[in-house]
Amino acid sequence: MREVMVISMMKKCAKSNLTALLHALSVYAPLYLPVNGNGKDTRAKYTRYEDGMVYSTDLNTVRSAKDFFFPQTENLVNFKVEGKNIEIIDPRTEEEDFILFGVRACDFKSFDVLDRVFLSEPVDSYYASRRAHGIIFTMACTRPAETCFCTTFGINPAEPAGDVSCYMTEADLYLDAKTERGEAILAKLEDLLTDTDSTDIKTVEDQKTCIASRMEKLPLAALSTEKFGGDKLDTLFDDPRWESLSEACLACGTCTYVCPTCQCYDIKDFNTGHGVCRFRYWDSCMYSEFTKMSAGQPRLTQMQRFRQRFMHKLVYYPANNDGLFSCVGCGRCLASCPISMNIVKVMKTFSEEVSDNGSK
């Protein structure tokens, strides 16, 4: 979306100053960052920063960062109905800048995937407005998990991009502005930042090298997209293996809802008793009612619905978007599917030659 600057002017902040830095950022604009939960679920989730909160170094949040640009529920328009007359009210208020801190490379790439949907003509102005006001601080992944496979989709977790790319080491946080807006915000934090020297640059470069070697050793490092892409419709659509892959699918929407790139939604009216609000909310192609209409139901089986989700990510989307896949390898669906069926298993299955008497 924004021009990427070529020259980098990396800054550094001692980790002992991290709290002060977060505070300063939160003064500049509302700040959202991963914070560990305090209930039964202690995993990280994006939380609006308040003083006293601690940045979570968890690899990734349970829910993806797409929430900030494409929230789960959103009021589109309100109506007042009186007799035969209708009044149409746009409920939106002026959007303000906000900061997203600690976005991983995979999630950042997911914004690009979403942009191609929501910012293509006709532009979705709800999304566009939030996108224009979001300032993104990304964070390099020093300890990628076994479920990570972002490199399969050409994402480099050591170069997470955004407005400012961050690198955390034992002692310091390095901030590398990647856009003019990133530069501007770092300039406002001058008091807390120091310039970097060649030793610092080496430290960061070493971290990048370390990340690269760690990525290579991950169990899913060899996962390939070779068998997929916009031109693979004929080879994949009628493959009998969809049946066995989808046989245990519960038809819940977990994979869709934790996915940073799933963007299907539904629109519904809610009668509040004093008006009608028309809202949109995440929907899932895994649900049986997704395509149901008064004239009939085109996708009758869970196999068809299951196939739609993966075909969309691996074939249909790339066909429309210069080969870009609609998956960023964040691994959330691997960790959360109730029956542990996921895109990796689908990709691996189709990457195997047909074996096992042709059906398994």
Binding site: T272, G273, C277
Partner: protein
């Protein structure tokens, strides 16, 4: 919730009344000119057993501050046993709501016969006062329904 001229909180209360006993009891209260709070909205149901948990929750969601369910006395159900089921169901539901942190006094089951006009009025009076003392229901309302 509503507020009157004096800025005083007036609870909105939904009363599900069985057609055969409690609704007739409410009728009798009216005929006898027994006063009970005007904020009580009666919904007539064929049997107290008709009320499923969704009704109760929807009432709260749409802004009720208290929900009371009235039926025939145990043993007097027009359909023999409907209110016995009601008794178990509502006991369980209300206990669950309390478990979620909803004040016990916001929910009640009361048996009111067709002859008990006075009991109906007194029950409603008492219930309304208890709910009023608790203040508006904020824990179960749907924010979209706020005026």
């Amino acid at each position: 919730m509503q507020v009157n001229e004096n800025n005083e909180f007036r609870p909105k209360i939904v009363a599900f009344c069985c057609n055969w006993c409690s609704y007739a009891g409410a009728d009798l209260a009216g005929n006898n000119r027994l006063a009970y709070p005007a904020d009580i909205k009666i919904i007539r149901v064929p049997c107290s057993c008709r009320v499923n948990p969704m009704f109760i929750l929807r009432a709260f969601q749409r802004g009720a501050d208290g929900v009371i369910l009235c039926g025939c006395h145990p043993g007097d159900c027009h359909y023999t046993s409907g209110n016995y089921y009601t008794r178990r169901r509502m006991a369980m539901l209300f206990s669950m709501l309390n478990y979620l942190g909803i004040e016990k006094e916001r929910t009640r089951v009361e048996w009111v016969s067709a002859a008990e006009g006075a009991k109906f009025a007194a029950t409603m009076q008492d219930f309304a006062e208890k709910v009023k003392a608790l203040g508006p229901n904020k824990r179960l309302e749907d924010l979209r329904c706020k005026q």
